[in-house]
Amino acid sequence: MKLPRQERNKMALTVEHVSYIYDPDAPLSHKALDDISLTIPEGQFIGVIGHTGSGKSTLMQHLNGLVKATSGHIYYGGRDIDARDYDKKELRSKVGLVFQYPEHQLFEVDVFSDVCFGPKNLGLERGEVERRAREALAKVGVPEELYDQSPFDLSGGQKRRVAIAGVLAMQPEILILDEPTAGLDPKGRREILDQIRQLQTQTHITILLVSHSMDDVAEYVDRIIVMNGGKIVYDDIPRKIFKCYRELEKMGLGAPQVTYILHTLKENGLPVDTDITTIQEAADSIMQALDSFRITGP
């Protein structure tokens, strides 16, 4: 689905010089966000990476108007979201935010009604609410036999899917996921991330994936924003970001394990491409390098 240029600009979320100070009166007040500027075009899959306390979660809460910036402006569809006449409720239906450990927000007696909570709050008709809930649950891969179960009886991974569906059911145009894999086992992590990627390729929804693990995002996203100390340090495509892996290490982040393996191989004389970010590409590159070795001989 291609939109005319003007329309696309209208959809973009723009952050201009946003700063945020926690509790300015307290003895230990500090700047959680320091002069942040960025634009989020429609349909992009963005990874937001930062250490604990780098301000990434705070920034995400600004994007749907839950936290008001101390200074600076945020525009959605070309309009300032802090303007007095701006409908915050509508903004929240367009910019869906899934919090960290979203399963802690479940409260209804069964899975289905919990997912209905969001669309119901939008004031939609019953039929539409249920249609959206069904669609959202299908998108995150929750089987129908679980619809009538209590959300508290589900496994950790399933609870999380239900919680994500609760936000998806509002049919947001931008979906923000704050550490969606926190506390899951490797299998659950992979499943959730694959599901998110599938969602993105199928619906072309704009996704911001917040994480502190490079391995989580490297394979999936079009663009990475690296945050440190309330500032944006890097904002680029993944392979360019991982070139600076030494600097990333200083921030306690590092690059994906693939990058390290490739660099070590190259240092030891194997001519591999070190800019690669996904495991599949890396495997291909290593095989190629090995083949060239075999032909020329050591």
Partner: protein
């Protein structure tokens, strides 16, 4: 919004008052509150104000933090003043329709308001300068004699310190769940009383679940470290009276003496 509750909030800084033994501060606050209700006259209130000002000065806590605690009782204060002002029988000063302000009423209203302010600020000084853990430590040791009467002092102190410790955690949790539900379009602020009460369900259910989960985890962690009540339990930093604590007791006695003298003589 929820963070405006000063009572029970510690202000981190370095001062003599912060370093005092919590027992001194507890006893001091109690004596101070009692002193407010004895010997009512203007001079007595001036002495009480001076003493309070001295302690606040020594505590290095900005005055506005003490006033923050007052916000919570503003309503109570208002009611007290109004009731005293209009409902005390005596010599009439001003008459408006059916309401009469009497000389005694005015007197009572002013002094009651002052007393309440002093009381709140006085106890705020204690909670602002003492960590909750210290406070319960002090209570446990100070109330130890009650053990003789089979009062479970240690258990009560432990319950209190856990409860106090959980206040900020649960506040934070409330804040998080509230935000998460607002992000799903929940509305906590508009509508009539019934609608608002209903809107609390998506907040309260997750909050209770999380509180129970935390309580379970804590109980497990305490058991894992062989907690079995206060019997034979030692402390890493046992409370010991030092020179400054004795001096502080002396100051409190001096204040009480002053207040009594002023109260009786003037």
């Amino acid at each position: 919004m929820l963070r405006d509750i000063t009572l029970g909030q510690y202000y981190q800084t370095e001062s003599v008052i912060h370093r005092l033994d919590p027992r001194v501060k507890l006893a001091g606050t109690l004596l101070y509150i009692i002193s407010l209700f004895l010997f009512e006259n203007i001079a007595g209130y001036i002495v009480a104000a001076l003493f309070l000002a001295l302690v606040i000065g020594l505590s290095h806590v900005p005055f506005k933090f003490m006033v923050r605690g007052m916000k919570a009782i503003l309503f109570l204060l208002l009611i007290t003043v109004l009731f005293n002002l209009f409902l005390t029988p005596g010599e009439a000063l001003v008459s408006l329709w059916k309401l009469t302000i009497t000389r005694e009423g005015l007197h009572n209203a002013v002094f009651m308001a002052l007393r309440l302010c002093y009381l709140i600020i006085g106890s705020s000084v204690m909670t602002l300068t003492t960590t909750p853990n210290h406070l319960t430590d002090g209570m446990e040791k100070g109330l130890r004699p009650l053990k003789f009467f089979r009062v479970p002092v240690h258990e009560v102190a432990m319950i209190m310190s856990i409860a106090l410790r959980f206040i900020p955690i649960l506040l934070e949790e409330t804040d998080k769940i509230m935000k998460a539900q607002i992000a799903r379009g929940a509305d906590f602020e508009s509508g009539n009383l019934i609608k608002r009460a209903k809107a609390m369900v998506p907040l309260l259910v997750p909050l209770f679940i999380s509180a129970f989960r935390r309580a379970n985890d804590l109980a497990m962690a305490m058991e894992a470290r062989c907690y079995h009540g206060g019997e034979g339990r030692t402390k890493m930093k046992p409370l010991v009276y030092r020179r400054r604590d004795r001096l502080a007791y002396l100051c409190i006695l001096l204040y009480l003496g002053c207040k009594a003298t002023v109260g009786i003589l003037l």
